[in-house]
């Protein structure tokens, strides 16, 4: 197996996790930046639609590095999927696959199920629930919590901050509850 084939196959957790963890010291040493991604959403609000709200009145230009960072993530997403893309279908755990099949998911070929996330679904009920409603909760919830998986779960826990542990546990509890109580209802409803 040559190096390109190796790069194209899915990367195991013990490669990806440490690389993500290294982002913490890399950002700190490059420019005293604390790792955190959800703030980019706040900076976009502050830059584009501050509307005189005190929460968006700050010097977002000083935090512009975060916008460069997320722009890089978009480019990396492109490179990872189109230049280094896995030629094979994703391998989903059998139990998850069976449960989701029973709930009506039929497409297990890509990273995202086309049943739900196809562009043609944007203006349908699927789009309203999975894109608009879900996205709103991600934006509202992360800001209310003061961070997301990167800012709290990775950066906060790495720095032994107990409020970040509270936040991380809350993320997980919300996710478990939604997966087992809400999602079956939503999937059943739209698929």
């Amino acid at each position: 197996m040559n190096i390109i084939e190796l790069l194209k196959s899915p990367w195991p957790w013990y490669v990806a996790g440490p690389l993500i963890g290294l982002t913490v010291p890399v950002l700190l040493l490059l420019g005293n930046k604390s790792f955190g991604i959800s703030s980019s959403l706040r900076h976009i609000c502050a830059a584009v639609i501050p509307a005189g709200l005190p929460f968006f009145k700050y010097n977002w230009r000083k935090e512009a590095w975060n916008l460069f960072f997320v722009t890089g993530i978009v480019i990396g997403g492109f490179v990872g999927n189109f230049w280094l893309g896995n030629p094979d279908a994703i391998v989903v755990a059998d139990d998850t696959r069976q449960t989701l099949s029973a709930l009506g998911v039929t497409d297990f070929s890509g990273l995202m199920p086309a049943d739900i996330f196809a562009v043609s679904n944007v203006f349908t009920l699927k789009g309203l629930i999975f894109l608009v409603f879900g996205g709103f909760l991600v934006g509202f919830g992360t800001r209310y919590a003061g961070g997301c998986t990167s800012g709290h779960a990775i950066m906060g826990l790495s720095n032994l901050q107990w409020p970040s542990l509270v936040a991380t546990l809350s993320f997980m509890i919300g996710g478990f509850a939604c997966t087992h109580l809400l999602l079956p209802f939503f999937l059943h409803f739209v698929l």
Binding site: P25, K62, L84, F136, V138, Y144, A167, A177
Partner: protein, 174 residues
């Protein structure tokens, strides 16, 4: 006091501003003293590119992987987050222990997280959104780059959610 100086616009009273940023002034915060140029910021773009590639290649951006995680059907995501925290933990310990400076010679400074009820209420709301969309904010950007263009709607809605939070913030329990 550092946090106050960091964001304080001159027109705002210091107390209001302090309250404004108390909760999340440290999420993704820039603590560097010297100002960076456009080209200086490009290094963060490069870090983002590598980060985005890892996100896609380890399938962290996959809705299916998030479902596996919340259904306890795979160790993958727990392995990713756990080993990332382990590496981050050791890195920060080393930086503090040996007082390693930034490339511009500054002392590394990380703000403490302050407890706030929002970490519970907001955390639960984000968790629900995470399970629905299969994405936290980072993967949202990577999914769009990976060609899942419908996720642009999710991102716009997440920006709207952030804005609405800013609008109703004073009325929420903190």
């Amino acid at each position: 006091m550092e946090k106050i100086q960091q964001h304080s616009p001159l027109s705002e009273p210091v107390d209001a501003e302090f309250d404004n940023i108390r909760i999340d002034g440290c999420d993704g915060a820039n603590r560097q003293q010297s100002v960076e140029s456009f080209t200086g910021n490009l290094k963060y773009l490069l870090v983002g590119v590598i980060f985005g590639i890892v996100f896609v290649k380890a399938e962290i951006v996959s809705w299916f992987r998030i479902q596996e995680m919340f259904r306890f059907d795979s160790f993958h995501m727990y392995g990713v987050i756990g080993s990332a925290v382990a590496v981050g933990l050791v890195s920060i310990w080393l930086i503090k222990r040996f007082n390693i400076k930034t490339i511009s010679g500054e002392t590394v400074s990380i703000a403490d997280k302050v407890f706030d009820q929002g970490q519970i209420y907001g955390g639960l709301l984000f968790g629900i959104g995470w399970a629905i969309t299969g994405a936290c904010p980072g993967p949202l950007f990577a999914q769009i780059g990976a060609g899942y263009l419908a996720v642009a709607v999710t991102l716009l809605s997440a920006i709207a959610g952030t804005w609405v939070y800013g609008y109703v913030r004073a009325k929420l329990p903190h």
